[in-house]
C-alpha cells in the first residue's frame, strides 16, 4: 500500500562501513552500523530528541491518529501491546521479529480447529499506572471498540473475531474467530497501532474525548504528556512492572523543518533525529558537520518504492511491454543517484519489503536489469516497431505514457527525471504529471485513470499484504469500485497463493506460497520494485543505550533503555 499511515515515514540509513548482506537476504540490502549499542547509559537525566511531526491526536485507534509518529513517540511507551516487533539481533541488520510483549507471560497459544482460537496469558504483575491489573476485560473492551467504536482508523483483522472469553480467569484471554474465518496475521492484533486499552477507565465513556488530547494513565514504562505544538514528554510510570526507564525524562521536540532540525542537532539542542529519506536530508548528511555524531543508515526496511503499472490499460495491458519496461531501467543506477551518498546503491527485487522477506523471494525481479537487446526482443516479438522518432509503435499506437506521483516530493521527482531519460533510450516516451496525494490515491488510482504511477508499499507489521494489492478479487473495476488492486493485476495462479499468505494459519505454507506468488508476480511484471526507502538514524555520542533501527516501531522503539552516555 502507499506511503500513508506513514505519510511521513522516516527511515534510516547509512554509515561509513557498509555491511553487505548475503545473497539469501536480498541483493539490494545494504546496512551499516555503529557501535552505539556498546555505550552504557547512566541513569537519570533528561533526553531531548528531535521529532519531525507531532501526532494529530492520541486516540490511537481513531481516524485522527493515522500518522506513525504518534505510535513512535508516545503509544509504544504507554500502551501495552500483545506482541512487539523488535530487532532480531543486536547487529543492526534490520531484521525484525515478533515477540510477546511484557504484558504477556509468553507466546499466545494458537488453535486452528474447529475454529481459530488464541489464548493469551497476561502477566500476573501487569498493571495500569493506577495500580489496577491489566485483565481480560481490557482485551474485550479493545475488541468491542475495534468492532463497534466510533471514528475508527483501521478495523482490519478484528471484524471476524466472534468473542473474547474471560471466563477462565481475569488473566486468561481466549479469542475465538467466527466459523469459516481465520486471520493469519494474528500477532498484529492487540498490538501495532491498536494495543490494549484500559476498560476500567474508558468503558462506558467517550473514548475519543478522553484520549485524543493526551491521557495520564499508562500500561507501559512511561507516562506521556503532550504540550501541543511544542513537545511530548515521557516520564516514569511508577507502577511499571518491568525494568524502569533509564532516563528520568524524554522530551520529543517537534521540529518540522528539515534544515532547522539538522541545525538543532548539530548545535546540541537535540540529541537525536530521525529524518525522512529525502534528497535534502541526504544532501545535509553528505555536507558534513556531523562529527561527534553516530549515524546509521538501514536499507532493510518496511518500505519499497515501486513503479505500479495499470495492467488493464495500454500500453501496459501487455505483459511483454511491462517486461520490456523493466529491462529498460537501470534500477541500481537510479538508487545510487538517490541514495548513493549514503552508501545505498542497490535496487530491491521484491514487491515485499525486506521485513517480510520470509514470505517472499527477495530476488524475484533480479533478472530485470538494463538490457536493451531484451527490450528489442520483447517489443518486436509483441509486434512493435520503432518509429522515425525512436519511439516504439504498433497499430498507430505509440509507446507513450504518463507517470503520476505525488507533488512536492523531490526524491520522486528526481526518480521520474532519471526514468524519463532511461526509458527514452529504450524507445519509450514518458511524460510526467504529478498531483496532490488525495487526487492520486483518492481518484486516479482507484478509478484506474492512470498508466503508471510511482509510490511506496509500506508495511506496519511483519506480514505482507500483497493479496490486497494484487488478488483479482480486489480489482476495483470488477468489484463495484472497491478493492486496492489498483494495478488491475490479473495473475490467476497467484491468487490462491496470496490468499494463503493472508489466511492460512500454517507458517511454512504461508512462506512457501508467498515465495511462489512473488515469482509469479515478477514473471508477469505486475509492478517493478525500485528502491528501499532507507531509515536514517542520527544521534549524539552523548547518548548511550541499545540504539538500533526498527523499521516498524521506529527508532525510538526502546527509548526507555536510552540514557546519557556514562
Amino acid at each position: 500500500m502507499s506511503d500513508q499511515r506513514g505519510s511521513v515515514r522516516l527511515f534510516a540509513c547509512f554509515a561509513a562501513l557498509a555491511v553487505v548482506l548475503g545473497a539469501a537476504c536480498g541483493s539490494s540490502a545494504k546496512q551499516s552500523g555503529t557501535t552505539a549499542s556498546t555505550v552504557a547509559p547512566k541513569h537519570g537525566g533528561t533526553l531531548i530528541i528531535g521529532a519531525e511531526q507531532e501526532p494529530d491526536c492520541m486516540d490511537w485507534i481513531a481516524s485522527c491518529a493515522g500518522s506513525s509518529w504518534g505510535t513512535w513517540l508516545a503509544e509504544i511507551q504507554t500502551i501495552p501491546f500483545a506482541y512487539r516487533t523488535v530487532p532480531a539481533n543486536d547487529k543492526n541488520t534490520g531484521e525484525l521479529k515478533s515477540v510477546p510483549g511484557p504484558v504477556l507471560t509468553g507466546e499466545a497459544k494458537l488453535a486452528t480447529t474447529p475454529v481459530q482460537k488464541l489464548t493469551y496469558s497476561i502477566a500476573p504483575q501487569a498493571v495500569w499506572s493506577d495500580g489496577v491489573p491489566i485483565t481480560c476485560a481490557d482485551f474485550a473492551y479493545t475488541l468491542d471498540q475495534q468492532q463497534h467504536g466510533t471514528d475508527l482508523y483501521d478495523q482490519t483483522g478484528y471484524l471476524d473475531i466472534a468473542k473474547v472469553d474471560c471466563s477462565h480467569g481475569a488473566k486468561t484471554v481466549i479469542v475465538t474467530w467466527k466459523p469459516g474465518t481465520s486471520y493469519a496475521s494474528w500477532k498484529a492484533l492487540f498490538s501495532g497501532t491498536v494495543g490494549i486499552l484500559p476498560s476500567h477507565i474508558l468503558k462506558g465513556k467517550d473514548r475519543d474525548a478522553l484520549m485524543k488530547d493526551g491521557y495520564s494513565w499508562s500500561g507501559g514504562p512511561c507516562i506521556a504528556k503532550g504540550n501541543k505544538g511544542d513537545s511530548i514528554e515521557l516520564t516514569h510510570n511508577p507502577k511499571w512492572w518491568g525494568t524502569p526507564a533509564v532516563a528520568d525524562k524524554v522530551v520529543f521536540k517537534i521540529l518540522p523543518d528539515t534544515s532547522a532540525e539538522f541545525q538543532a542537532f548539530k548545535s546540541g539542542q537535540v540529541l537525536a533525529i530521525y529524518p525522512q529519506p529525502q534528497i535534502d536530508v541526504v544532501d545535509a548528511i553528505s555536507a558534513g558537520g556531523l562529527t561527534g555524531a553516530n549515524t546509521l543508515y538501514n536499507s532493510n526496511t518496511a518500505t519499497v518504492e515501486a513503479l505500479w503499472m495499470n495492467n488493464a490499460k495500454p500500453p501496459f495491458n501487455s505483459t511483454a511491454v511491462r517486461q520490456a519496461l523493466a529491462y529498460s531501467v537501470d534500477r541500481d543506477a537510479l538508487v545510487k543517484k538517490l541514495f548513493g551518498k549514503l552508501g545505498v546503491d542497490k535496487a530491491v527485487n521484491s514487491l515485499n519489503p525486506y521485513v517480510a522477506r520470509d514470505y517472499s523471494n527477495p530476488d524475484a525481479t533480479a533478472k530485470y536489469h538494463l538490457d536493451l537487446d531484451m527490450v528489442n526482443k520483447l517489443m518486436t516479438g509483441a509486434g512493435w516497431s520503432k518509429g522515425s522518432d525512436g519511439v516504439w509503435a504498433k497499430s498507430g499506437q505509440r509507446a507513450s505514457f504518463t507517470i503520476n506521483t505525488t507533488t512536492t516530493n523531490r526524491r520522486r521527482e528526481l526518480t521520474e527525471e532519471i526514468l524519463q531519460q532511461q526509458l527514452k533510450d529504450a524507445g519509450f516516451e514518458m511524460k510526467i504529471s504529478n498531483m496532490k496525494s488525495g487526487d492520486l490515491f483518492g481518484e486516479k488510482l482507484p478509478q484506474g485513470n492512470y498508466q503508471i504511477a510511482l509510490y511506496a508499499n509500506n508495511l506496519t507489521a511483519l506480514t505482507p499484504g500483497l493479496c490486497t494489492l494484487f488478488c483479482s478479487k480486489n480489482n476495483p473495476d470488477t468489484h463495484g469500485g472497491n478493492g486496492n488492486n489498483w494495478s488491475r493485476a490479473n495473475v490467476p495462479a497467484a491468487d490462491p497463493l496470496l490468499e494463503a499468505v493472508d489466511n492460512n494459519l500454517d507458517e511454512s505454507t504461508r512462506m512457501a506460497d508467498g515465495k511462489r506468488a512473488d515469482d509469479l508476480l515478477a514473471t508477469d511484471m505486475v509492478a517493478l520494485p525500485i528502491d528501499p526507502l532507507p531509515d536514517i538514524l542520527i544521534w549524539s555520542k552523548k547518548l548511550g543505550g541499545p540504539i538500533q533501527d526498527n523499521s516498524i516501531e521506529g527508532m525510538f522503539w526502546n527509548i526507555d533503555r536510552w540514557g546519557l552516555a556514562s
Binding site: 500500500m1 502507499s2 506511503d3 500513508q4 499511515r5 505519510s7 533528561t46 531531548i48 494529530d56 491526536c57 486516540d59 481513531a62 481516524s63 485522527c64 493515522g66 471514528d151 475508527l152 482508523y153 483501521d154 478495523q155 482490519t156 475519543d208 485524543k212 488530547d213 501541543k228 505544538g229 511544542d230 513537545s231 522530551v251 521536540k253 517537534i254 521540529l255 518540522p256 523543518d257 534544515s259 532547522a260 541545525q263 538543532a264 548539530k266 548545535s267 546540541g268 539542542q269 537535540v270 558537520g289 562529527t291 561527534g292 496532490k436 496525494s437 488525495g438 487526487d439 490515491f441 483518492g442 482507484p446 499484504g465 490486497t468 472497491n482 486496492n484
Partner: protein, 323 residues
C-alpha cells in the same frame, strides 16, 4: 469617534462574510480533507465514515453556513484533523505569535526610528548611504534564508567550533526544557526569530521614517523654529518627528496586523507553535474549520489594528478629526 468606529465595523461585516465564503470554497475545492485516509489499508470504510462525520456530502454553501452559524455563537467548531476545539487551538497558537510580534515590533520600531532619523538628519552622509544599502539588502533578503543562515552562524558554528557546552543562542522554541517566564533563557531563544522579523521591519520602516522626516525637516515651520533658536534636538524630536510619525503609524499598524498570520516561515524554522504553523498544518490537510476561524481571527485583527491606527492619528495630530 464612536460613530466612526461603529461604521467601520459595520462595513467590515459583509466583507468578512464574502471573504470567508470564498476562503471556504477555495479550501474545499483545493484540499481534500479525506486525502490522508485514501491510501490506508481500510480506506473504503474510513473514507465513507469520515465523509459522513465531516458532513462533506452536503453542498458547500450548506457546509459554510453551518460553520458560520456556530461561529457567530462563539463556537468555532472542531478540527477535522485533531478533533480538538478550534478556539482552543487558535488561542494556544496566538500566544507565541503575539510574543514574537511584540518583541519584533518593539525592536524593529526602535531601530527603524533611530536609523530613519539619523539618515534624514545626516542625509547623503556615509552613514546614510550605508544604512540605505543595508535597508535594500534587508528588504531583498528572504526570511527563510536569513533565518537558516543566522542559525548556522550564530547557533551552530560557535557551539561546534568553540566546543561550548551549550549554544550561545537557541533556535528551537521559546524556552529550554524546564524553563519558563521572562528570563535570560527566554531572550536567548527569542533573539534569532526576532532578528529575522526585525531585518525586514527595520529595512522597510527606516526608509519610511527617513522619507517622512525629510519631508517634515524641509517644511517652513521647521525652518522657522530653527530660525527662532529652538534647540536642534527639540526641533527634530518634538516638532519634526511627531509629524513624521503619522504615516509611520499606518504602515506599522498594518504590517503588524498582517504578521499575525504571516510568521509562517519564522515559526517553522524556529519550531515555534504559532499561528503561522497552525495555518500551514491545517492547510495541508484541508482542515476547513481551523482555516476559516483562523482567517476570520486574522481579518478581525487587521480591522482592529486599522482602527487603532486611525485613533492614533488623532492622538498624534490633534488637527485630524474623524467623523
Amino acid at each position: 469617534m464612536l460613530t466612526f468606529i461603529l461604521r467601520r465595523i459595520l462595513y467590515s461585516v459583509p466583507v468578512l462574510l464574502v471573504a470567508s465564503f470564498l476562503t471556504f470554497w477555495g479550501i474545499r475545492s483545493t484540499f481534500d480533507p479525506l486525502a490522508r485516509f485514501r491510501s490506508s489499508r481500510d480506506s473504503a470504510r474510513l473514507v465513507a465514515q469520515q465523509r459522513k462525520a465531516l458532513q462533506l456530502d452536503h453542498p458547500i454553501v450548506w457546509q459554510w453556513w453551518h460553520w458560520l452559524s456556530g461561529f457567530v455563537r462563539g463556537d468555532m467548531g472542531t478540527s477535522w484533523r485533531t478533533h480538538e476545539n478550534v478556539s482552543e487551538m487558535i488561542r494556544r497558537a496566538s500566544w507565541p505569535t503575539l510574543q514574537l510580534l511584540f518583541w519584533g515590533t518593539l525592536v524593529s520600531l526602535t531601530l527603524a526610528i533611530g536609523i530613519g532619523i539619523y539618515s534624514a538628519v545626516k542625509q547623503y552622509s556615509v552613514g546614510d548611504y550605508a544604512f540605505t544599502g543595508l535597508s535594500y539588502l534587508g528588504i531583498a533578503m528572504p526570511p527563510f534564508w536569513f533565518g537558516l543562515l543566522a542559525i548556522g552562524l550564530l547557533v551552530t558554528y560557535p557551539k561546534t567550533h568553540w566546543n561550548l557546552n551549550e549554544p550561545i543562542l537557541y533556535s528551537v522554541g521559546l524556552h529550554s526544557e524546564g524553563q519558563s517566564g521572562l528570563n535570560l533563557d527566554y531572550f536567548r531563544h527569542l533573539a534569532l526569530p526576532v532578528a529575522v522579523l526585525a531585518v525586514q521591519g527595520v529595512a522597510a520602516w527606516s526608509r519610511f521614517v527617513r522619507a517622512s522626516m525629510l519631508d517634515v525637516l524641509n517644511a517652513d515651520y521647521v525652518r522657522t523654529a530653527r530660525a527662532k533658536g529652538v534647540p536642534r534636538r527639540k526641533v527634530i524630536f518634538k516638532h519634526a518627528f511627531r509629524n513624521a510619525t503619522i504615516p509611520l503609524i499606518t504602515v506599522v499598524a498594518l504590517d503588524t496586523a498582517f504578521l499575525i498570520g504571516g510568521l509562517l516561515i519564522t515559526e517553522q524554522i524556529f519550531a515555534i507553535p504559532g499561528m503561522g504553523r497552525l495555518f500551514l498544518d491545517s492547510l495541508l490537510t484541508g482542515d476547513a474549520p481551523v482555516l476559516l476561524s483562523w482567517f476570520v481571527v486574522v481579518a478581525i485583527t487587521v480591522i482592529i489594528f486599522n482602527l487603532a491606527a486611525d485613533v492614533l492619528y488623532g492622538v498624534a495630530d490633534p488637527r485630524i478629526r474623524v467623523s
